[in-house]
Symmetry: C2
Subunit: 322 residues, 2 copies
């Protein structure tokens, strides 16, 4: 069983691909070395909100990174934020969340989400936790203790809070507790690595602080960039209509790929495929139409049977997709 993990440098090359920032970067190599020396997989945390999501390519960016960790021999640990979903938005500011979901709806959303991401990660070998498991048992005193590690000034360094504070838009006190809860999840599941966006840097680092306090290993933040949508400008999202869903039909997906602006293709190849970066360079040196077809066919095959991508491209070429 020993040496079942690839050499550290090999792992780092795969992990670093398409990643915006790793904090602290030097610790990651040490963790990987220790994992290899002791033949112990790292615990790779990723948290989601079970509020009803149609998974699109933007979501697959961190999920594909988990998949890569899994292929390197590490353990995926998925946290379903069912406790926070149950609370909704008590301020009533966020109308979408003001109507609280029932426990049944939340659980149905969680199951549906796990089914969807089973197309990206190996869900069978992943650990799945619902954070209600620990938060429903926490006392007020424990919450006050947790909050004693966080200052208001630190919270206001978070991009979204800083912006709202400057613009004199309300930041509610319960929202200040959410990053603390996210950090606490890492203590509970003893995360070695957490995946997230750079806007979550604060929670990702607070988790390190809480882990150190309890003499646990500290997690490393592996932060992905935000995938731009098919409009080439804004973050991919359902409400903006600039998304490609992973459950869409191959032909629908190909049509959207063919309409991509040329300048987002490098990002899409890097974040959404495993095609080696030198090869990506060659592809992008050719005709943009060929590049989009290659990109589209590769991505479609990930979420449909092999060959469906090229079949859809041929159908598009035949001009049936008008």
């Amino acid at each position: 069983m020993s040496n079942s993990f690839p050499p550290v440098e090999e792992q780092l090359t795969i992990i670093r691909r398409g990643v915006e920032k790793i904090v602290p970067e030097d610790e990651l190599a040490k963790k990987l070395q220790h994992s290899r020396d002791t033949n112990t997989p790292l615990r790779i945390k990723y948290g989601i909100d079970p509020t009803g999501i149609d998974v699109h390519l933007g979501h697959t960016v961190p999920l594909r990174k988990i998949r890569q960790f899994q292929e390197l021999g590490h353990k995926a640990v998925i946290i379903i934020g069912n406790y926070t979903a149950m609370v909704g938005d008590p301020s009533g500011r966020d109308e979408a969340r003001a109507t609280r979901l029932t426990e049944e709806q939340i659980e149905a959303n969680a199951v549906d989400y796990l089914n969807q991401i089973g197309k990206v990660i190996d869900i069978e070998s992943a650990e799945v936790h619902r954070n209600g498991g620990w938060f429903s048992k926490m006392t007020f005193a424990e919450i006050l203790h947790l909050c004693g590690r966080v200052t208001v000034a630190q919270l206001l360094t978070r991009d979204d809070f800083a912006k709202r504070y400057r613009e004199e838009k309300p930041i509610y006190l319960h929202e200040c507790l959410y990053p603390v809860m996210q950090a606490w999840d890492s203590v509970e599941i003893q995360a070695d690595v957490e995946l997230g966006g750079t806007e979550q840097l604060y929670s990702l680092m607070l988790a390190r602080d809480l882990q150190a306090q309890r003499k646990l290993n500290q997690q490393i933040a592996v932060m992905s960039p935000i995938l731009v949508g098919t409009d080439g400008r804004q973050r991919m999202g359902k409400s903006l209509g600039n998304y490609i869903g992973i459950s869409e039909e191959p032909f629908e997906m190909i049509k959207k790929f063919m309409q991509l602006p040329d300048d987002v293709m490098r990002m899409y190849f890097e974040l959404l495929t495993d095609i080696p970066l030198e090869e990506v360079g060659q592809i992008l040196g050719g005709h943009p139409k060929d590049a989009k077809q290659k990109l589209g066919a590769t991505v479609v095959d990930q979420y449909h049977e092999a060959g469906q991508g090229n079949a859809a491209v041929e159908r598009w070429e035949a001009g049936i997709g008008s």
Copy 2:
């Protein structure tokens, strides 16, 4: 039993004496009228921290106000903040509170405190609650809901928080929860009036908001001024050595009264005695030494057997107190 309460205007005169601010003032008369019409005492809330206190004259200012409400026929409701005392200061910033008190110490402090204030208010007829009774049972979800009524910007309007934020001194997140907890106490005990200082205005008003949400009557804040110490400059406090404790010997108390700066006497007469204000004016028109003797003897008699005040003054006059 009907009309056992004095007329509203008579009550208002007593309640307003020495009070800095009543918010909202117009509602107090209505509440008193309704109390009189329905022969129902108002519930007068006052909260204390059982962290080990030697009660001094500064503490007696709100306590004497409670006593006045009791004499008018209303109900004193004392909240012992045992739950927050148990938490201490998790940030470690406040060294005095960093060493957590045990439950036994907190309970001993509470009993000791109740004994001491029994010299000021009628403790037999008062209701006493420990807030651990409700906070120990509260879930994280309930706490998040409570916090959904409070914004960071509102919290930063509190004098002490605003000052620290300006000076870039840390405000910890658990401290933001304390005013919310104080406000929640008012919901639990259905307070009609809460006594406090003007620096607590935020919590006192948040309690009204939380009460209204739950269709309860809203409390009125009756805010006392801060008693200046025997140095005539700073707030009376043990650490500054500028205090007169209510358990001190009569002669010790008189010595301190005789050293008071002349210009604090009006405040002391108004806040610490029931001598009618016209009479106070006459006393202050005479010799300052006589005024101090009258003030000292009156206050000493409140906390010792009647006549002890004058006896101590005579001893002081005889030059024994050199």
